[in-house]
């Protein structure tokens, strides 16, 4: 019976669809199942007795071998995403899990590694990613989906569009997407930031000038409207232009003509105008800082862009998108972000929106030498603002315990201010107080209100 046992074990191992191999304490392979043969492309006969790194050829063998970590720490690793290079030189994405092998006497025998081919999952992921992206704009949140549905409709008609969104929400990406979907896509898309230029310079940039119009104007200079003829002009930060410039723009939008500086001949502008601002134009109109007639002229179709903190469900998708892009740009091979980094990034507020997330990840790319972005690679200001992970839910935690964790966490974040904590949790302050009593949550000694009162006083 005893000599039959290894054969039975091999039959069991071969019936598993995941690759399995075991190593002895010298890292030499002493069992290798059929799925392992299939995924790596290495026959069992060739793998047995060889060093695992020469057979398995994984991206982590050299720097962060999971089996070594498991054997040293005696802690299993579950579902770590890596890639291997199979016998044909193909990079195969896999997920691995490792465990220690010990004898009945507790003596270390080696380790076992199981791995699953993720090629199909990866393909499906890419397909899904395509579905959640629209002309380089990423999102699966309801807010973004409704914008994606609206874009082709807006692109078809030749009206003026006002894109309203905070800095970094992707105003130019949306403008470009509208242009790329519109019948004008074969002509140019010209973008200009109106807030960045003083009035006179903006005027010559937009409308151009004739030779001799001023001292240094030796040659005619076509303006951005002329460059965008037949195409689209994108006027960013339209809320920052002066009243005089507003009048000139109104004329272009109303009569479709303009005069370059120094010219008496009006030029017809066959240009679609897309405008954008981070400011509330209606408020500016009320305060008399923005012309009402221009406001109504540009506010024909309005696209309000959501801030990133209002569509947090898109953050993992955006992280994947940026990591893929930076891998290509920096010729790196970073697999993703560690779980605690994802937790931090999900909790961060992103005053700079998607652009800030992009910058955070680029910062991490510069510092990261391994295959996974860790918290130490993030900019210190992000870590300072978010603070350490507070609520970690272990499998098997009861609903009551999760509730207690969230409440005490919200109270801590709001420095003991019960009203603010209740607001954050979306419950009434009296409900919060009741819950703290029933769940036995100790209220912080510091009360947010009293501290504020003290400060004020």
């Amino acid at each position: 019976m005893s000599h039959e046992q290894p054969e039975v074990a091999q039959i069991i191992l071969d019936s598993i669809n995941d690759g399995v191999f075991t190593v002895d304490t010298e890292w030499r392979i002493n069992s290798f199942n059929e799925a392992a043969e299939r995924i790596t492309g290495v026959p069992r006969s060739r793998a047995m007795g060889r060093r695992c790194c020469e057979v398995f050829r994984a991206s982590i063998c050299e720097t962060e071998c999971a089996l070594r970590q498991t054997i040293e720490s005696r802690q299993p690793i579950v579902n770590k995403a890596i890639y291997i290079i199979d016998a044909t030189g193909r990079r195969v994405p896999i997920s691995i899990s490792t465990a220690v092998l010990t004898g009945n006497d507790g003596k270390l025998l080696g380790g076992v590694e199981t791995f699953r081919d993720l090629s199909l999952v990866e393909e499906l992921r890419r397909e899904l990613e395509d579905r959640y992206s629209f002309a380089d704009i990423i999102g699966r949140s309801p807010a973004m989906k409704s914008l994606f549905d609206l874009l082709p409709v807006i692109a078809e008609v030749d009206t003026t569009v006002l894109i309203q969104g905070a800095s970094g929400t992707g105003k130019e990406l949306f403008a470009r997407a509208i242009h790329d979907l519109s019948p004008r896509r074969k002509k140019r898309f010209v973008a200009i930031n109106c807030g960045a230029l003083p009035d006179t310079l903006l005027s010559s940039e937009l409308f151009g000038y004739k030779a001799g119009a001023f001292t240094d104007a030796r040659r005619d200079k076509p303006g951005r409207f002329a460059l965008a003829q037949g195409g689209t002009i994108f006027l960013d930060e339209i809320g920052d232009i002066s009243q005089a410039m507003q009048v000139r723009l109104l004329r272009v939008l109303q009569e479709r003509v303009y005069e370059p500086l120094g010219s008496v001949q009006p030029v017809t502008a066959d240009v679609r105008v897309i405008t954008a601002t981070h400011r509330n134009l209606a408020d500016l109109v009320k305060r008399g800082e923005f012309r009402e007639d221009l406001y109504y002229r540009i506010n024909v179709m309005r696209l309000p862009l959501p801030e990133l903190r209002d569509r947090r469900e898109d953050i993992p998708l955006l992280i994947n998108h940026f990591i893929g892009r930076f891998n290509r740009i920096h010729n790196k091979d970073i697999a993703g972000v560690a779980d605690d980094v994802l937790d931090l990034l999900m909790r961060y507020d992103y005053p700079g929106n998607a652009r800030e997330l992009e910058n955070i990840l680029e910062h991490a790319f510069v510092l990261c030498r391994g295959s996974l972005i860790k918290p130490r690679h993030l900019p210190p200001e992000v870590l300072d603002k978010v603070g350490p992970a507070s609520v970690t839910v272990q499998p098997g935690t009861t609903l009551q315990a999760i509730e207690a964790l969230h409440i005490s966490d919200a109270l801590r974040r709001n420095h003991g201010n019960r009203k603010a904590a209740a607001e954050e949790l979306g419950i009434h302050p009296s409900t919060l107080l009741r819950k703290t009593r029933t769940l036995g949550i100790e209220l912080p000694s510091q009360d947010g209100r009293s501290s504020r009162r003290n400060k004020d006083g």
């Binding site: 057979v55 030189g89 193909r90």
Partner: protein
């Protein structure tokens, strides 16, 4: 001639794509003139090999795109090699690298190799084309 070997714990690094160190060996005839130990950045590996005017890369596993990039850059790739680096250099010098001792168990079968997108004649042609214009010192 200049040969590069990615190294990990005095052995050939298992995967060139993620190797962190390499030895660059200058060879004259059958003797080693000089050995340099270098760190390898994670990015632009092939450009770094080109910069170092490497003629031959002896490595363990290497992904197809990276191998193709090496051949296009005029660098001959001897892949799927394993073992202690000094022994591998010795075997390369006396022409016994093809012997089973240094062949990685993870290598492709000869039959499977034929499906490799850049076939042997094509690799030679790419290499020869790429070498036109390179400094004669390294030919």
């Amino acid at each position: 001639m200049r040969v590069a070997l990615p190294v990990w714990s005095d052995r050939i690094s298992p995967v060139f794509d993620v190797a962190t160190h390499m030895k660059v060996v200058d060879i004259d005839g059958r003797s080693v003139i000089r050995i340099l130990d270098l760190r390898v950045a994670r990015s632009n590996r092939v450009a770094r090999l080109e910069e170092l005017a490497v003629d031959v890369l002896i490595c363990g596993a290497i992904s197809r795109p990276l191998e193709a990039a090496c051949w296009v850059a005029g660098i001959e790739v001897v892949a799927d090699i394993c073992g202690p680096v000094d022994d591998v250099i010795g075997a390369y010098l006396n022409g016994s690298l093809a012997a089973g001792d240094y062949q990685s168990p993870g290598r492709a079968d000869p039959g499977r190799n034929l499906q490799w997108p850049i076939r042997r004649q094509e690799r030679t042609r790419l290499r020869n084309n790429a070498r036109v214009g390179r400094s004669p010192r390294h030919r």
